[in-house]
Amino acid sequence: MSTLAQKKGFGAVLWDYLTTVDHKKIAILYLIAGGFFFLLGGLEAMFIRIQLAVPNNDFVSAGLYNEILTMHGTTMIFLAAMPLIFAFMNAVMPLQIGARDVAFPFLNSLGFWLFFFGGVFLNLSWFLGGAPDAGWTSYASLSLASEGHGIDFYALGLQISGAGTLIGGINFLVTIINMRAPGMTYMRMPMFTWATFVTSALILFAFPALTVGLFLLVFDRMFGSNFFDASMGGNTIIWEHFFWIFGHPEVYILVLPAFGIFSEIFSIFSRKRLFGYSSMVFATVLIGFLGFMVWAHHMFTTGMGPIANAIFAVATMAIAVPTGIKIFNWLFTMWGGSITFTTPMLWAVAFIPSFVAGGVTGVMLASAAQDYQYHDSYFVVAHFHYVIVGGVVFALFAGAHLYWPKMFGTMLNELLGKITFVLFFIGFHLTFFIQHFLGLWGMPRRIFTFLPGQGLETANMVSTVGAFFMAAAVIIMLINIVITSVKNEKVGNDPWGDGRTLEWAIPSPPPFYNFKQLPLVRGLDAYWLEKMEGKKGMSPAEPLGDIHMPNNSFIPFVISFGLFVAAFGAMYRADHSWGIPVLIVGLLITLGSMFIRSVKDDHGFHIHKEDLEDNNDKGVKA
């Protein structure tokens, strides 16, 4: 039910969103919060590029540069890319499998608020004595030596938001396993749902490694343990292993949903079934599996020895195979299709060469002997921006245009969308292509300035100019969003005209119960099948009946807020006498609200059959 159409007061809308357990509204929350952090991380990126535009620049000091660089990476990965991906998973996946919501709506909301408060906590470090400054990888030798509370903000903030991510991942897994509509077998699930499934499994297995690593770090920094302190019998390399056992799967957690979004786009706008669907599923699962076997390619130069290096090098190169399968399947999907170059399709087509370039440099980095040359140079920076921006960020832009009508019921302007694309595409390659060469010419990564006369001036200037193109693209996208929301021209079920999967069979945005009657799925691309047989919508799989819905709840917000308070207490425990009491109060808030949730019965409510029948004329059908 659209909140816009009902003309509620601002306070009521706010309260609705603070307490909502509806996956579609939580998706919007993720989109807003993730979008905000994306802008913040983008601003930090601009500062980095301004500082590096000319040699010997003093736009920011060395210490501040380290903070900005660290926060850029941390924000972009944990607070922008992840939540934006979660936004699309929440908005689309339940609709794609024909479910009325995720399996645990309450936990869905809890996951969001934990992420949100973790992110806010991390960013408050700017105002409370300085941000973390040991890089997004926070290697232990650096982070244990870092003064002030920056690293504590990092460790505690990520711990809280990481718990939210883990909850979200488990929720998606259970949803996909248990709540598929009748007829929706595993091998009929849309590619984006498959990607969500494998990604959630990766989250389930990868995030605990980060959790453990962060706990050890917190103990070393705040409670006097010595897990990572070599002078006390610890080992600083252990952090690197924990971080990358999490960190490499994390890059696939980001990119698999991107692959999913692009798979949908290629088949929608080529008006063809996805080529090699089963091999796509296989490749996705295989990438997920191999993603756990390769983490040490980030540590070739730590002295693991030739055997370990060789094993991890070969394993890393093996990932190129399933990735290649996917690339060829996308190309064959377009082959012979009737292609329309809408904005999402432009991003998708541009994604292929950009991502392949990143994959090629990945294989270069994967050969351990060569990596000794590339490691910690701008070449690595170029590599991961090619895969992360060319893969993930392109997908987020494409997904935003593709699913905007499903999420908000309005269509983003195509012309502005294409301008955004062109500017961003030019800016992206301008910024990062030259960085390969900067790396090969010897520019180390994570330096705050460079000297004149070393042949690095022009290339750095080019890179900075590119960054401004990307900034302009993002601003135009924002203008597009404002114009679209003000115009507020509503669209129908299937605004692109060629929707193939279940989400396009219901109104945009869908009613809050999604499907009046659960749809009967008769094959892959269920809605397309029905359309090809001349039907208007899905055939229902059940008679019209009462629908059971969960009640809204403010408790997830309070639980997360309690942890937010407790984190401050834990951090300032050693400096101020109020630390311990604040820690206790925070935990009491959290545990108390969990207790209330456990003892208070909340059975939800029913939408009655008669009320559903009234809506028939509005075309709200299964």
Partner: protein
């Protein structure tokens, strides 16, 4: 969403069949329970007996522990029943990832 709850709650299931099934299960549980106690005693004896070296005792007890976990999962937590394929898959994947991690730590860091 009646079609989404394959087990339990359905009044029309065959009571007779259920009773037989439960009795059989009870028998299995009692047997495994006895075996688990026996294995625990064996473990204590192995640790207490002077004649074994640590190189025998530690792997031996670890093997007993694994057997106990399997008993626990299959006979008490019903993983052998139908409809537990997905939990089984994730359990084994998780065990596998944990195993890889420990192997890597043992070989790459501490060896």
């Amino acid at each position: 969403m009646a079609n989404q709850q394959p087990n339990s709650g359905n009044p029309r299931v065959d009571i007779e069949y259920r009773r037989k099934k439960s009795a059989e299960e009870m028998k299995h549980q009692v047997i495994t329970f006895a075996m688990m106690i026996f294995l625990t005693i064996v473990a204590f004896v192995a640790a207490g007996y002077e004649g074994f070296s640590a190189w025998f005792i530690v792997p031996f007890i670890l093997i007993l522990a694994i057997v106990q976990v399997i008993f626990q999962l299959y006979y008490f937590m019903h993983m052998s029943h139908k409809g537990h394929e997905a939990p089984a898959l994730f359990l084994y994947s998780g065990a596998f990832v944990g195993f890889i991690t420990i192997i890597a730590f043992l070989t790459v860091i501490w060896w």
